[in-house]
Symmetry: C2
Subunit: 350 residues, 2 copies
């Protein structure tokens, strides 16, 4: 057992420093740092106990603000996402947090709630806090980055499929992903394929809409109806009701997010129709909810963990001094049952 | 229009201060602070433009680390949750972030992933960063708070229905909530009511298990089967399969989380049985997923926003100097269809 008895500090000069702790515990100052900060490297339990004992005995108290002033680093990163209640973004936030923690960075999480005003306020706030970098999943395809540039804070654009001169950006090929989901419905023989498209703050056409259009054009199939609505369950539900009520009801629907698809499933169930028998559905994102909807959704999966790791590497990791780069990750169609395929698979891990 | 032309700084002494900016813009230093920090009070757009112009002209750059050192406050709070991919916790995190932002605090979000080791590392890390306070949704009913107490960092225990001497805590009455969900199934005439109970790191019996037991005992009904499994969709799916396969299949199941209930619905669908016709289901939490499952879940709702607001008030708001208090919030049964009630309601907001 480690003794908890209070002993007079061995060093009597000024406040106790990390160096004092290291000397007392017989370890390097780096090891003290790992113990105090909970990383980035692991410390053997016995060594950790020695350091913790030294901290107690000496009454060492690390001063984060003084340290930040000295290092010129707060060891903190900011993340701005449009909506934490959307599981795609909470998955992304989780993955970014894990990857940042590996390098010893903590994450300030902010939600813009889909509002450009709030997004700008968050950017200014993070700049004022002098975070070491910002991950921005903007509500715009081309966000205003002046405040970050002015404060000299590096930024990685997340969830962005467009290139922005001078900025690192990470995204997926939305159009190519959408194509695979629509082509799969075409392969099942559908020729009336509707689109439930989420609404963006920008007026630019979303890559998923382009992909849907291209797949139909290349197959020589006429475009089905499009309904624009929120990227949410409720948005999908309302879009589903409108798609079902139209004069030329589609036999298949591609939804631009899993959340919308879940709302569409509800609208179809309520109308007394069957999925995929009466209407097939495919969607985009690949969140856990898609696996547990009824029927389970065939969806285009985004490689969230790989994207988060690349974002952290570009912002504060090995690639931080390299020129800004636009990285597009490939998606993969995860086939389940909502498209009409037989699927006897149990959930992952079962 | 505000002139963007670069002018020589009006003050030539040392670095530009907030006071210089205030004088140049003709506003108070508080207003400069609101603009720089994006709150907590709103500033009229015209005034904000004047301040931004002054910042540009004078080349003012706020120094967060110096400010923290001077104020003795990082204006940052920490939040530790067990699992950000559980929508209940992402909802809670979102609500805490909003309530903290109202008071000008940013939020460092960390996930323990259900691991006590990780939780302890996060606590130490947040203490080292000298956050102004920590919200801890622990994996334990009685977490180890020594590190926070040692660093003199106030803490509010979130999602905790037990009282911990000397600490603010916020929770719901799990047993009372579970009772309402089970009593509702009894009211529907069920007499074989199973329990899918989440597994806690502590060995203590969860309030939801007690509530289920008490409701059955008071009704003179024998206890149905209990399956303990993870508080996740997969945990529920596996519990559902076991409950269906047992010798005395229950006609109703109470699940201790909405996530488990969603997994149970999948197991029931896959077995070719109907909900609520063959098996009724009720659950606990009240997340958005419960509204969009098929059928929609009757669930015990936790008042997440009110709990988050109370937690922020206790930690850094009006109640921060009051003695520590244990606050238990009431839950409400939200009746939908999975219990057997008719429900013609469209989703909220439709």
């Amino acid at each position: 057992m480690v003794s908890m008895t209070s002993t007079a500090p061995v060093a009597s000069h000024g406040p106790v420093t990390r160096k004092d702790v290291a000397r007392y515990a017989g370890v390097s100052t780096a090891v003290v740092s790992y113990v105090v900060n909970g990383g980035p490297k692991r410390v053997a339990p016995a060594t950790e106990a020695k350091v913790q004992d030294a901290i107690r005995v000496l009454g060492y108290r690390p001063n984060a603000a003084a340290r930040a002033l000295k290092l010129g680093s707060s060891e903190t990163l900011g993340l701005i996402i449009p909506d934490n209640s959307n599981p795609f973004f909470s998955l992304l936030a989780h993955a970014v947090e894990d990857a940042a923690a590996e390098l010893g960075f903590a994450l300030l999480l902010t939600n813009s709630g889909g509002s450009l005003t709030k997004e700008r306020r968050h950017i200014r706030n993070l700049a004022a806090r002098q975070v070491d970098g910002v991950f921005l999943a903007s509500v715009l395809f081309e966000p205003d980055l002046e405040d970050l540039a002015k404060a000299d804070i590096p930024c990685v654009l997340l969830n962005n499929d467009r290139e922005t001169e001078g900025f690192n950006s990470i995204g997926v090929d939305l159009a190519a992903g959408a194509r695979t989901a629509v082509e799969h419905l075409l392969w099942h023989g559908h020729t009336r394929i509707g689109l439930a498209m989420g609404t963006n703050v920008s007026n630019d056409i979303d890559g998923r809409e382009l992909g849907w259009r291209e797949a139909l054009r290349d197959a020589g199939v006429a475009e089905g109806p499009i309904i624009h609505s929120d990227f949410t369950r409720l948005g999908g539900y309302l879009a589903g009701q409108r798609l079902l009520a139209g004069p030329d009801r589609p036999t298949a629907i591609f939804a631009s997010s899993d959340m919308q698809a879940i709302g569409i499933l509800r609208a179809i169930h309520e109308a007394g129709l069957a999925v995929p028998g009466d209407i097939a559905v495919t969607s985009f994102d690949g969140v856990a909810d898609a696996e547990y909807s009824w029927p389970a959704l065939t969806t285009v999966e985004q490689p969230v963990r790989a994207m988060a790791a690349a974002a952290v590497t570009a912002l504060v990791g090995a690639a931080r001094h390299e020129p800004a780069q636009h990285r597009i990750f490939p998606t993969a169609l995860h086939v389940r049952q909502s498209c009409g395929c037989p699927d006897g698979n149990a959930p992952q891990g079962a």
